[in-house]
């Protein structure tokens, strides 16, 4: 059992939790994730490690309520326990090779991006950041990130904060305006990472994206998380989650993410009060 020692709501339906997990904290690195289970009948879901402290033995997660498990997780509060919390999983991000990087975070993808920005900033890399979201309420961690980057740009779909439009608009503007980056790191919805990668391919800037396929074990034993990268099948949980954005087959990834759409709806309807379904 893993105790929740802090909880905050960052945006509507987006929560932050600090969890007591000394063994995970002991070896966690930026870019890695955990797999958790909220209760006995629960599903195993992956969430990125947003931050960690080895000596105090905690890690933080930031998650968006999108379905059943994240909904159940959101119901837990300070002092409650998460049943299972396994990690750190996946490869750590390779962050030490760059001199000037542009990081692009979309929606809750900002969460996994934050420890990477912090790590590079502390290592002396110059980091510019573009954050994008539906509206100003969904721009996460802007204050924290502003403290550890050179320049922060914001785009919202409805124009309620920063540029009205997509993160790709800002990316295009920056690069066409003569800004030079030796690497781009993009984390967010698949459509966003696909659009960013298409642009950076044109500009010939190497780009890393973080894939978030459906997972079960997170250790390479089910193959459910497979993604096609450069024509080869790779397992996101052990070979990733970071991959070369110019080589990822995003269309396939989007299709695979929809595999249980029917069941997700079903489980949602069954659990609505008055629909005869049981909650837990």
């Amino acid at each position: 059992m893993y105790k929740i020692i802090e909880k905050r709501t960052l945006a509507p339906g987006v929560h932050f939790m600090r969890v007591d997990a000394p063994l995970v904290a002991r070896s966690a690195m930026p870019g890695q994730f955990i797999i958790l289970r909220v209760l006995e009948e629960g599903e195993r879901i992956p969430l990125t490690i947003a931050d960690y402290d080895r000596t105090e033995g905690w890690v933080t997660i930031i998650f968006q309520e999108v379905g059943h498990t994240t909904g159940l997780l959101a119901e837990l509060g300070i002092g409650d326990h998460i049943l299972d919390f396994a990690g750190p999983l996946g490869r750590a991000s390779e962050l030490d090779r760059y001199s000037r990087v542009l990081c692009i975070g979309g929606g809750v993808g900002t969460a996994p991006l934050y420890p990477q920005i912090k790590h590079m900033h502390e290592a002396g890399t110059e980091v510019d950041v573009i954050l994008g979201a539906r509206s100003r309420d969904y721009i996460l961690l802007a204050d924290e990130i502003r403290r550890c980057c050179s320049r922060l740009y914001i785009a919202t779909d409805d124009g309620s904060l920063g540029h009205k439009g997509f993160v790709t608009d800002l990316l295009k503007e920056l690069v066409s305006g003569g800004e030079r980056y030796d690497h781009v790191i993009a984390i967010g919805p698949l459509v966003m990472m696909k659009a960013v990668s298409a642009l950076t391919r044109e500009f010939m800037i190497p780009t890393t994206v973080s894939m978030n396929p459906i997972m079960v074990d997170g250790t390479g034993m089910c193959g459910g998380c497979r993604v096609t990268v450069g024509g080869k099948t790779r397992y996101a949980c052990v070979d990733g989650p970071d991959f070369d954005g110019h080589l990822v087959d995003f269309d396939e990834a989007m299709r695979r993410q929809q595999m249980y759409r029917q069941e997700e709806k079903e489980s949602h309807i069954c659990r609505l009060p008055g629909m005869g379904g049981q909650v837990r």
Partner: protein, 474 residues
């Protein structure tokens, strides 16, 4: 005394009924049936059966005790070499091992040794191992990685020798393949859980959600004060066919399919929260136990038609004979001498399978006749789900994070067979992690040998230390 050449049959659930439920198929012997079967044993002076068992269960001795009604003594005799009789009695490929060698099988059917073992074991499932069997703690810690049959056996023996044993398991539940792979209708999970609670009663500690190689490394364990480490991490990495269409929606590895169903209880969705696709027409590729289990699960989840697609013939099929028989009775269709070359899709989902017909050619290195393609024999069949069960290999997480652990060509951990000692001081390994996918009883045998070797090594060390201290004190 007249000799009976036919096995006492075991009652099973009616195939028409069982194909719709996950309850156990084979129902076990009653006391009378067990006595009748035990009575057939000739009590050979030189029992061939014992040599056929990978851990040399003293078969005539336990059967003799059984015929005399001395159940506890029968149980203790089995337990000397096999501490999971209820499990082995159900899943050992007996027809290849003990029963094959039984003298009676020369003229008729060998003794149903597995069924008798199950009968004896089941009678003692609720008996917690008396705690006084274990020696008092000797203060030394040993780490066991993985909680499949290899790890469980090593942990049990080490605890009995007096070590403080901690089992590290990556999943949230211990048991390995016994829990996530082999389905309920062949091996009830309640039984595996009882065996694990016996280990807990012996003082073994289970730490779940710890992935060795990620959460902690083998070197971390040695630094954290474990005097020895036993690695029984299995062969969990699924193999795919490498043919077009394998990433279509509706294609599963058997590992994923079975894990969703057994460990995550997807058959109980949405009460349990993990979903699994329910195929209508399902193709399972492969001919081993894993393929049979996946096919029979698909049937139980409501598939109208389930095909086993296997490139050799029925004779070469590696699955336990009983499982093939049960699968056939349940209506699984066997497409033998058939090899898939492409998974066909529509809008991103599986729509069918393109296969070629095969014929058996010359024997290969393994002695089995090699299947060769018949030119121009391609044909397409409609399917909406494909499950790939063509084998697994050892997971590289541990070996990749332990550079001084030598591996074999196929990624297995290299060991000295008699002791399980690896190339790294203090580290032992056994089971599928060493051999690649094999059997429950072989994994248990390896766990047992390694536990003994660890005990020898550590007590030798303790002796030397004692002598050194004694000298220093003089």
């Amino acid at each position: 005394m007249s000799v009976t050449y036919a096995k006492t049959p075991m009652r099973v659930q009616d195939p028409a009924v069982r194909r719709n439920n996950f309850d156990e198929v084979a129902l076990g012997y009653t006391l009378d049936e067990a006595m009748a079967e035990a009575g057939r044993c000739l009590q050979c002076k030189k029992p061939m059966c014992v040599a056929g068992c990978p851990v040399n269960v003293q078969i005539p001795a336990f059967i003799k005790a059984l015929t005399k009604g001395e159940f506890e003594s029968a149980y203790n005799i089995i337990n000397e070499t096999n501490n999971l009789p209820s499990i082995c009695g159900r899943v050992c490929p007996q027809e290849e091992q003990c029963e094959k060698q039984c003298i009676l099988s020369k003229k008729g059917e060998g003794i149903a040794i597995g069924r008798l073992e199950r009968f004896v074991g089941d009678g003692f499932l609720d008996n917690e191992e008396p705690a006084n069997r274990a020696l008092p703690s000797n203060g030394q810690k040993v780490a066991v990685v993985g909680s499949g049959p290899a790890g469980l056996t090593a942990a049990a023996d080490l605890a009995k020798f007096g070590y403080e044993v901690t089992v590290f398991e990556a999943f949230h539940e211990p048991g390995g393949v016994l829990i996530y792979g082999i389905p309920e209708f062949r091996l009830p999970k309640a039984l595996v859980k009882k065996e694990i609670s016996k280990l807990k009663a012996l003082g073994v500690r289970f730490l779940t959600n710890v992935i060795i190689g990620k959460t902690l490394t083998v070197d971390d364990l040695l630094e954290d004060g474990y005097s020895a480490v036993f690695i029984g991490s299995g062969a969990g990495l699924p193999r795919f066919l490498d043919i077009p269409g394998e990433n279509l929606n509706g294609v599963y590895s058997a590992n994923e399919y079975l894990t969703r169903i057994n460990l995550m209880k997807a058959y109980d969705f949405p009460h349990s929260h993990t979903p699994v696709k329910h195929g209508r027409k399902v193709a399972v590729i492969g001919g081993g136990n894993v393929a049979m289990d996946a096919a029979r699960c698909a049937l139980r989840l409501g598939a109208e038609e389930v095909h086993i697609i296997y490139r050799r013939s029925m004779e070469e099929m590696p699955a336990r004979a009983e499982e093939v028989k049960h699968a056939r009775e349940e209506g699984i269709i066997f497409d033998i001498l058939t090899n898939p070359i492409e998974i066909l899709g529509q809008d991103g989902w599986v729509k069918g399978l393109r296969c070629v017909k095969m014929e058996l050619g010359e024997p290969d290195e393994s002695g089995r006749r090699k299947p060769v393609e018949i030119k121009g024999s391609e044909f397409d069949t409609d399917f909406d789900m494909v499950i790939i069960a063509i084998g697994t290999s050892p997971n590289p997480l541990i070996t990749a994070s332990t550079p001084d652990l030598k591996t074999t060509r196929f990624g297995g951990i290299m060991v000295d067979e008699a002791t399980g000692a690896t190339s790294k001081e203090g580290v032992y390994a056994g089971g599928d992690a060493v051999t690649g996918a094999a059997t429950v009883i072989q994994a248990m045998g390896a766990g047992k040998r390694a536990a003994l070797a660890i005990h020898r090594k550590l007590s030798e060390k303790a002796c030397i230390n004692f002598a050194v201290n004694l000298n220093a004190a003089k």
